[in-house]
Symmetry: C2
Subunit: 291 residues, 2 copies
């Protein structure tokens, strides 16, 4: 075969055939073909990658795990935000622990009650990378109501003198820098820094894969908060596609005190008042984790 | 390095490192490490494989797509069955189109009202393989109430003189042999073969990936049935982990006519009365497909 015939049969584009796999239990997971490697670096805390992909658009990968994808980030961010902010009748001060991508802040800012949003993110490079590659997700960081503090979430929570109406624990998984954000001592500090009618919501992993961890987390919640409920959402890029959130509250009940949404649902792609209520109705194999 | 040192470093078990990937849009999907290849064959209609896996137990793979896994099949089978059978007040005759693995029949038989279950499966080899490798799923085929007919579902539906209370379309995807089961002519025949208060439920693919197909399917449903609703469930081994079902009915409404479950929920791992109602509450990005 002549060299120019080989060139006709195999394009250089075909040769660049690179896949990223996020494995669960080392033996199953999501595999995604990469169109382009937009960023690959190492912060003081973790590896950070940004890939462009056909199916999910741009994805942010921390320590090998997909944190956000352009295609489905709306699900996670709407559900972690609008559930607590629609239950609290007047959430003026909101603290986001983690959340360096800005998606949660973007959703918080849709609530006109909110006067101040504080974000405590440990890793400055996450914020910088998201500002550069995900401007439509991180744009809220430029809002004058928003203040970013670069600090360890657990240390901040122990030391701050502030009190909040709503605290959102928008952490990565309980490996690496976020491990302390899944421990009882941390939740006790959150409780102390909430006002007397405050609400904490935390992402609490996959009810399909992380069953022991979830049981332990909710036992901690119940030892601290009088009102504790789990709610769930379908998030295609997260392990198992099924994700859980813990609603922990001093006074307001997630269903009985829910008076409908205070945000225009036309701006939302997942959350609506029916979904709010439905997300707390747990399948039997999940309910048994939190009872 | 001496040969015996090489042998110490690489075991034969390490060398057998085989992965199965089910891709969506050719560039993302589920990847699963295979512990053992239990069966690989070709029927008159499709390739059939049975793999043993660490995370999902045994999985049945038709034409390269996971149909059932031991670990999560309960979700699909409970949701496709108990929703219609709990809405219909007295479902005596049930037709399952497809369903050669037997999981739907197993769930149907939990309803004491049911006197007769007919299964129309095109591929005899699917039933034989499932009886051999998934006895706990296919066991219901031995029940005297159950009759299996090996026939094309579309042809059976056009020709049968029988009438049914509930018809469950437990098909594979609209590629290959099941393609006709997603066409309007087929649904019209189902309508005609349902009693005057009959209910059809059909699996209708992933609301994340198959958006155009779903819009088309529900337009057909609405041209034929007076009552049409979509409900959803989280199924980790199915594309995107989020799956939809169409509830199509001549008289009974899936929520207003639902009087609770007639099956002991202790035997179920996903479905319960709250989940029944909640599964019809659709996120905005799904609702727009069926409105």
């Amino acid at each position: 075969m002549e060299l120019n015939e080989i060139a006709r049969e195999v394009s250089m584009e075909d040769l660049w055939n690179i896949w990223f796999s996020e494995l669960h239990r080392k033996s199953a997971g999501l595999t995604v073909k990469i169109k382009d490697i937009l960023f690959s670096g190492k912060s003081d805390f973790q590896r950070i990658e940004v890939f462009d992909t056909e199916v999910f658009g741009k994805v942010l990968v921390l320590y090998g795990s997909i944190m956000i994808s352009e295609r489905d980030e709306f699900i996670y961010h709407e559900m972690i935000t609008h559930v607590p902010l629609n239950v609290h009748p007047a959430p003026e001060s909101v603290l986001v622990v983690g959340g360096g991508d800005g998606g949660t802040v973007r959703e918080v800012l849709k609530h006109k009650d909110v006067k101040k949003v504080k974000v405590v993110e440990i890793d400055r490079m996450v914020v910088e990378v998201c500002k550069r590659f995900f401007p439509e997700i991180s744009g809220g960081f430029d809002d004058p109501k928003v203040e970013i503090v670069y600090n360890d979430g657990a240390r901040f929570m122990a030391e701050t003198g502030e009190r909040f109406d709503v605290v959102i624990i928008d952490s990565s998984d309980p490996v690496g820098p976020a491990e302390v954000l899944f421990q009882r001592q941390f939740y006790e500090n959150v409780y102390r820094k909430l006002k007397e009618d405050g609400i904490m919501v935390a992402q609490t992993e996959s009810p399909f894969y992380d069953r022991e961890a979830i049981s332990k987390i909710y036992r901690s919640f119940k030892q601290i908060f009088p009102i504790v409920s789990m709610y769930i959402a379908s998030i295609p890029t997260y392990p198992s596609g099924l994700w859980s959130f813990g609603f922990c509250s001093k006074r307001f009940h997630p269903i009985h005190d829910f008076r409908g949404t205070k945000v225009d649902c036309a701006s939302l792609r997942y959350y609506n008042p029916d979904v709010h209520v439905a997300s707390f109705k747990l399948p039997n194999f999940i309910k048994e984790l939190v009872e």
